[in-house]
């Protein structure tokens, strides 16, 4: 039964997307039907994921509830799905993040139905990716997940062809780079390869570097570490749709997840010498992001910098020579994605309303008490105050990074500090009443639905602070 549930969770959004495609727009051009279908599908899936959690042995550190679908194209003729605490936590947080993104769509005009349709497709592919149990399924969803997002960026968000093509080219390059090692491994082994066994595979001496480099580059292109960061920073600056922005910022988790699954605790000789280089590249990117986030005036730019600093922190955690961090990364990432998606929802609203102001957005939160409350709480959680699971799991992650390399760890904490400072400064600026001019156009607060969503997210975060898996019985 739980095995079937797994397949339902993967493919329910796909079925939902068909309903969205078939739905009619309202007379005024809005897509309430499509929105309702999307919200209900995601809510149902969240309930199913919670049900899956209760069937899971949370102490077991391997993929469980393995279910298989026959498909003649796949090696061995099957697609395998399975899950564990890490993947379920990520899937749950992605569902909640996309739900928040849908709530944020209220401020956006344009082809909402198209966005919602593609969004459910994206949800199917990401869920499939994080539940993939064998290498082929993993690779297939790794490739598939870029398609709906590419279409969202290009067709629906007004970001322009140039941005969409840049997004596609970088990600397509990543998929090609992953194709080579995947094909090579299948050619060598000729059996179904489960991803949790990937680090146990014995590779011939001369092919190790080739295979590991391909995997590394493929995942790093998704994350993206300097000098591969440009595609995502250029895409993020032009996106004006909170749902697409959320999706684009969720994509890098696929790279991070790839590293978590494939990065062996005991490193093969071929890549062991390169680890310090990877780590230096990571902290260089973190520094770059922290400085640019601090100097930038835009809300979304700051948010983008903040999100990627934390992704890279988790990547450093994965690189550290210990296996115990997987659980902490899962808990922290869960809280982090909730915080980030809540912030995206509010920032896009504040950004839109601030266009009505004559000079800057400073002081705007004084006119939006509900947004101010939610945003302040989310920032407190986001900068690492003890109101969510982010706090002490990050403490553990940072302590392991420091244990492995003090310099890298210290720079990582410095970048976290800079990110926290620029977010906090931004919050104070937005709440500074003295910057507001009289006679401004009417500024609207977030509606009750978004306020309720923000409050629920905060409650979930706080409960996760007390006990990360509070919803598991």
């Amino acid at each position: 039964m739980p095995e079937n549930l797994l397949l339902i969770v993967v493919f329910l959004p796909l079925i939902g997307s068909l309903f969205v495609a078939a739905s009619h727009n309202d007379a005024d051009g809005t897509s309430r039907n499509a929105t309702a279908v999307s919200v209900w599908v995601i809510c149902c899936n969240i309930l199913l994921i919670l049900r899956l959690f209760s069937s899971l042995d949370i102490d077991l550190n391997s993929l469980q509830m393995i279910s298989q679908m026959s498909w003649s194209v796949a090696p061995g003729g099957i697609l395998s799905f399975g899950t564990d605490v890490l993947s379920l936590m990520i899937i749950l947080s992605i569902h909640i993040a996309l739900l928040m993104g849908i709530f944020g769509l209220k401020d956006v005009t344009g082809n909402q139905k198209g966005i919602l349709f593609l969004n459910l497709l994206f949800l199917t592919t990401t869920t499939g990716f994080f539940m993939a149990a064998d290498l082929f399924t993993f690779y297939m969803f790794f490739v598939l997940m870029i398609v709906p997002l590419f279409m969202e960026i290009g067709l629906c968000s007004g970001a322009g062809k140039k941005t969409a093509s840049r997004f596609f080219l970088y990600n397509a390059l990543g998929t090609l780079l992953l194709l080579m090692p995947v094909a090579a491994i299948y050619a060598m082994q000729n059996v179904v390869i489960y991803i949790e066994n990937i680090s146990d595979i014995r590779l011939p001496d001369n092919s190790g570097v080739f295979i590991w480099s391909g995997m590394f580059l493929a995942f790093i292109l998704r994350l993206p570490v300097w000098p591969f960061h440009y595609w995502i920073s250029s895409v993020n600056t032009v996106l004006k749709n909170p749902l697409v922005f959320t999706g684009v910022n969720l994509m890098p988790i696929s790279g991070l997840y790839g590293f978590i699954r494939f990065w062996p605790a005991v490193l093969p000789e071929e890549i062991a010498a390169l680890v310090p280089v990877f780590e230096i590249l990571c902290v260089m990117t973190m520094l770059y992001l922290a400085f640019s986030g601090y100097s930038s005036a835009g809300l979304r730019d700051k948010l983008f910098s903040y999100i990627f600093i934390y992704y890279l922190l988790y990547l450093l955690g994965v690189f550290s020579p210990t296996d115990v961090l997987k659980q902490n990364i899962a808990y922290s990432l869960f809280a982090f994605l909730l915080v980030a998606s809540g912030m995206i929802m509010i920032v896009f609203h504040v950004d839109k309303e601030s266009e009505k102001l004559q000079n800057s957005a400073n002081g705007i939160l004084c006119l939006q008490p509900k947004a101010a409350f939610s945003y302040a709480l989310l920032i407190l959680a986001g900068v690492g105050f003890p109101v969510s699971a982010l706090f002490w799991n990050n403490f553990i992650i940072v302590s392991e990074i420091l244990n492995a390399n003090v310099c890298i760890g210290t720079i990582a904490v410095f970048t976290m500090l800079l990110a926290a400072v620029f977010l906090l400064q931004n919050l104070y600026d937005l709440r500074d009443k003295s910057c507001l001019l009289q006679g401004q156009e009417k500024i609207y607060d977030i509606d009750n639905l978004r306020f309720a969503a923000g409050t629920i997210v905060m409650m979930v975060l706080f409960l996760s602070f007390i006990k990360p898996l509070w919803f598991v019985y």
Binding site: R166, W226, P227, Y230, S233, S234, Y288, A290, F291, S292, G293, Y294, S295, S296, V324, L325, Q327, N328, Y331, L380, V383, G384, F385, P386, F391, W392, F395, I396, V398, S399, E400, I401, L402, N403, V406, G409, T410, V413, M416, L417, L418, A420, V421, L424, Q425, Y428, R431, D432, K433, S434, I466, K467, P468
Partner: protein
Amino acid sequence: MIVNVVISLLILGALSLWKIRQRYNNIFVSGSFLFVAGLLIYFIQSWQTGMESSFFMLWDSSASGDIKIAINSTLQNYRIVFPFFMIAVVALFNNLVFRYEKKKKAFSTLVIFILTSFIMLISGDNFVQIITCVFVIDILSQMLIQDVHASRRYGIYNLVADMGLFLVFALMRGSLNNLNMDTLTQYYDTVKYKDLIAAIMLVSLAIKFGFFVFHSYLLDLKSAKFHRLVLIPYLSTPMVALILFIKMRMFLAESHTFYLVFNILLGMTILWGAAGAAVIRGLKEKSVYFSMMIVALLVKLSEENGFVWNLSFSWLLICGFLFNICIYYLHYYANRENNLALLFRRQRKISLALYAVCVVAIFLMMAFSVCLAGFYSADTALWIYGFALLFLPTAANMFLQTIKNVEQNTDVLSAQTVDRRPLPMLLLIVSLSAAAVCLNDASWYPAIAAGGLFVVLMWIRPQRWLIKDSLCEKMQNADFFSGGYNIIIARPIKFIGRVLTLLVDFVFFERTLVSTVMLSAGIVVRGFRQINREGVLRSVLFVFAAFLILAIYFLRSRV
């Protein structure tokens, strides 16, 4: 036992989150004061029994280790908790009698939660519990300050300090692979990165204490309400720093430079505090400068006393807080005017109230001196005498200058009767001062000497000749340290960020890399188009190319 107190306070705090009608607020505030005062009595009774116990609760466990909530009821913890408990009770009573606080219930709730966090910080023995309590006290203090301008730099400075502590604790946890502070002795043996830890701890503690160079965020508190401001130095971040300093003392001792720099900072803080308290005209700013002086002295005395927290130390802390309350009531009866230069004449009765505050201050000075005498030794003599030399004339000048300015101004405004509500508070200060004198087994001579000297100094006011008006004028709005912070830290970071964005993203990627790729792709496409056009020469070229490939293939296969 301390755990019972914590549970009771948490229940009270949780109850106070319940929203009630405005008219019942006073009942709640009175009830919460009585309840906490009752808890204080229970706390003292438990302390006197001398029983020690420990309470543990598993918060969470993971592969990285168990996180426990520990509340240890040891005699040392009782001694440390006592002054904060007393300060919280006095603050709750002050809230009860104070008429200008609109959110009395919220204020009481915050004080209750801050006290609870303090107790958990003091009695905690693992890194996560301690750092959590530090962060929680910071958040609650920000809520206590309430004002956005006042809390802006307060929040950012404390965040920097907290992240420093976070880094130090994470470093220790990483090395020890254990979250418990008991294992610190192992770390003490190996002492890895001792200078790094000492440097980070020094900056973090200096920020939290509000020491010289790092104190400018405390001056921003002038935008906050006065009765909230007086609580910050004694029930907030500076005291968190004091507790952390005591908990971490053994590591810091390993670094030779730490105590040298730390003591220089202490001395400079006392000097700068005295200068600021003497020169600046705002009573709120004076209160901050006096607190800087007192906190710095307390830290020095604690250090010289081998970090033993005795009763005299507790009463010294309480007296410091009561002195702040006295400044507040000076401000209150001076028509709540912050700037001493702008005080205007009120009717005679108000001056009488101001005189009453001065008398209370004399009692307080006596209590302060008795507590201080408990720490007198050859090592501390210089610090104690130096402090007294700076503190007494400055404080005396402030009290009498307020009265003089009120009386000398000829503008007569409408009469107003004396507000009698604060009088019980002044009586409480006198009672607590008397308790401080009686409970300390020290001689009465310091009390008589300090009281007498204070009266004489109020009469002479030596600072009126020492401090020139022109100097005062220049110093009023000068903020050297925030300017330095901008020049040394904020602007360079912004500059680097902008240069990096411009250089890396725009120049390197957009203009160089992407443009080169696009250009190369264009050249290739154009080249292929050219080749694929109709023409005899191109056909010959293609045929020649095909033959070339065949020839190469043929030659390679032969080899």
